[in-house]
Amino acid sequence: MEWLDAILSSSVRMGTPILLAALACLPTLWTRDINIGLEGIMIFGAFFGVAIGLVTGSVWVAITVTVVLAAIVGICFGLLVTSLKVDVFVAGIVLFVFAGGATAYLLDTIFGAKGNLADPSIPALPVITIPGLEEVTVLGGLLSGHSILTWTAVVLFIAMLVLDRTSVIAVYLKAAGSHPQALATSGVRVNRMRVLAQMWCFVLASLAGIQVSLGQLSLFTVGMTGGVGFVALAVVIFARGNVALTALISLAFGAATALTFQVDKNVVPHELTSILPYAAALVALIFISRRSRRPKLAAA
């Protein structure tokens, strides 16, 4: 039974960055400005979380500063895509490639490190253990011992669920993507909605990145997000903009990723098992595409 607990716990832990990144990307799906540079934002988040945590010693400062920076950069990205009319596909690719290069550069110039940054004084994300629940099988693994960002993700999920149904902003975001002229001729500034969506994306995706670096081993390795941002992209496409489905599929992928670590390294080396989430996503993509029209990543 401990084995089940371990898997559940690890599923939630692996699923958190996927969920955060997917929730991040969702409004950009609504506005049809899907940000494929999600992975890049996560790498930045992972790096800055560690860097600021190391320099200030405080995980709270690290989170706050990273989030604020992400919001600012997100607004700039939004302006790039709206006012400067840069194609969001191009911008996303550049974001992804730039993130890899920039974090390696900063790692070297600021910390003199190449490849990774590990230091005992890098703080870790606070973990919430629920006393009493900790020992309960299944529930213990599922609910206790997770970082605050996991709980943040849950709160954000619920918030988005509510906003999706009833808020004016959600209506505007979806109209901005589905029929921007309709929204514009109703007097709403479409570009503001698009910029807002990008800002939201950057903020949540940077949190996802922090979860990856500070939420596990409290270190930074080049490329440590390992394509998780692209898995989140797949999740968002599969869920077709539905908030509840997004969460469900994110957790499914979290579980799939957790399972790959369960396989005995001597039977199947990790290189092969690491492809499981991506292979699953590809198979799901093929299966789902056969049946209906799906939003595309490079939609005209």
């Binding site: 004016v168 209506v171 109209a175 589905s178 309709a182 929204l183 001729t185 109703s186």
Partner: protein, 511 residues
């Protein structure tokens, strides 16, 4: 009709340029309270540009606008909306997945702390519905509504925002005759409530029937404003085109009876999002021009797709000169002598950003197979041929290497038509052949269609413009819900008969 001395809207010396193109050149326009004012002009005359500026979508380079005598400067659409101006665009501004209620209230939802107040919203939309006497289930999705219903929702939308001036851009383009009549009733009712209506159209009989005054635009400038009872249609046409020789009537025609060239039997199939064509059978003789009429969405697009091979038929037969082609591909059909002028010139007709010669070459190059695809595309012989085509068809372009986007709509359509005619087709399928084309170029297109029929080809013309069909077709098929509602002789049918068939009138009991 006209109340008060100050016009509710006055635009003076409005000028607007886009790059090197002057869309509006010192245009004057005036609107009285409770008036229905028609704005006419050819394609590209500047009507939509002027209206878009009145609606605050962009600002004039110079000139001023006054509302009730007070100068107005609209920075943005919500300024115009706040000033009581509403616009119903030619292409509807309804979010397809949203409900009627969501679409009507878009941009002005009743809200509580950022959340939509559903109760207030449901109440608020009842008022405009009462005003125009149109009830509709607010929970229905916009994409499930008919075009006429969508237009009503658009009107509800502007009324919900408190519009006292309503601009309608080519509102009757997609309506059947009965629906047009109902729209006119609605407009007269609104006018009697003090709402002023501006109504862009290129159908002059509509102007005569419903408008109080008409303003004519030509090449971006005003060419007069007249009360409708002081002017006749030919005068308006002369002002619109600057010519007095434009043919308006039907070209008299007598053609020898020839054997059937195209025979469709129990054809069934669908091209989404149009409705399916359901067991349709008809035939076309050589030299005959068959018009296809119907409210958009009743199967015309599916029929075109089935005839050209864009969509494959589920069942049924389609014989061209005796050979069944129902299951063949579009390229095979082209090889058999079917030509196709698509409805959407910019999407399917020609590659707008490529050169003229690349647009002309499409069909000739598409027929090459195997290793010859590695041969050069633009050869000397192709260039010579293209130059010849441009000359023969009077296509106005700087050079054959110029981008197709630099040509006018009429000339672009000429490219498409020329290319298809050069294949000496046995069957020509055309959809909306003169959409977005000025009168002069349209004349040329009609002449070309006539010439093609005279050579013995069968021609199918799908058009939303009944006047066009009445003018050039020999027979008119009316499609309704994917089936043939009627088969009329174009020489003798009336608009009312067409309209009845288009809305299923023949199938309904007498009202």
């Amino acid at each position: 009709m006209n109340a008060g001395t100050v016009p509710v809207l006055r635009a003076r010396a409005i000028t607007k340029s886009f790059g090197t193109v002057t869309a509006n050149d010192r245009v004057d326009f005036e609107l009285n309270r409770g008036e229905i004012h028609a704005l006419v002009g050819e394609n590209g005359a500047g009507k939509s540009t002027l209206m878009n500026m009145l609606y605050g979508m962009f600002r004039p380079d110079s000139g001023d606008i006054e509302l009730d005598g007070v100068p107005a400067d609209f920075q943005h659409v919500d300024d115009a909306i706040a000033a009581g101006i509403g616009m119903v665009h030619q292409h509807f501004m309804l979010v397809p997945e949203f409900t009627v209620e969501q679409n009507i209230t878009l941009g002005a939802e009743p809200r509580k702390l950022g959340f939509i107040d559903r109760k207030v919203s449901a109440r608020a939309i009842q008022e405009p519905m009462r005003l125009i006497g149109f009830q509709i289930d607010p929970k229905r999705r916009a994409q499930d509504l008919s075009l006429a219903e969508q237009q009503r929702v658009e009107i509800l939308k502007v009324l919900y925002r408190g519009a006292k001036i309503i601009i309608l851009d080519e509102p009757t383009a997609i309506l059947a005759p009965q629906e047009t009549e109902e729209l006119f009733k609605t407009l007269r009712s609104l006018a009697s409530h003090g709402v002023a209506v501006i109504f862009i159209t290129h159908k002059l009989w509509e102007v005569m029937e419903v408008a109080d005054r008409v303003t004519v635009l030509r090449a971006g400038a005003t060419h007069g404003t007249f009360p409708v009872d002081t002017i006749e249609i030919p005068d308006v046409v002369a002002l619109m085109t600057g010519r007095t020789d434009v043919g308006l009537g039907r070209t008299p025609r007598s053609r020898p009876a020839r054997p059937d060239r195209l025979v469709a039997a129990n054809l069934r199939g669908r091209q989404t999002p149009d409705c399916a064509v359901d067991a349709v059978s008809f035939s076309i003789r050589g030299g005959e021009i068959l018009g296809i009429a119907g409210v958009d969405g009743n199967g015309q697009n599916s029929l075109v797709a089935l005839l050209t091979g864009v969509a494959s038929a589920d069942t049924g037969e389609l014989h061209l000169d005796g050979v069944d082609i129902a299951q063949t591909s579009l390229s095979a059909r082209r090889e058999r002598g079917i030509a196709y002028v698509p409805e959407d010139r910019h999407r399917d007709g020609l590659p707008v950003h490529a050169s003229v010669i690349e647009g002309l070459a499409g069909v000739r190059l598409a027929s090459r197979h195997g290793i010859s695809v590695l041969k050069p595309a633009i050869s000397r012989s192709l260039t010579d041929w293209a130059r010849g085509v441009v000359d023969r068809y009077g296509i106005k372009t700087a050079s054959i290497r110029a981008a197709a986007s630099s040509l006018s709509g009429g000339n672009q359509q000429k490219i498409v038509l020329a290319r298809e005619l050069e294949t000496r087709p046995k069957l020509m399928v055309m959809a909306q052949p003169t959409r977005g084309v000025d009168i002069g170029a349209a004349e040329g297109i009609y002449a070309a269609i006539d010439a093609l029929a005279a050579e013995g080809a069968a021609v199918v013309v799908v058009s939303a413009d009944l006047d066009e069909l009445l003018r050039i077709a020999d027979r008119i098929l009316v499609l309704y819900r994917g089936g043939i509602a009627a088969d009329f002789d174009a020489n003798t049918v009336s608009r009312e008969q067409l309209g009845a068939a288009m809305t299923g009138g023949n199938l309904r009991e007498a009202a």
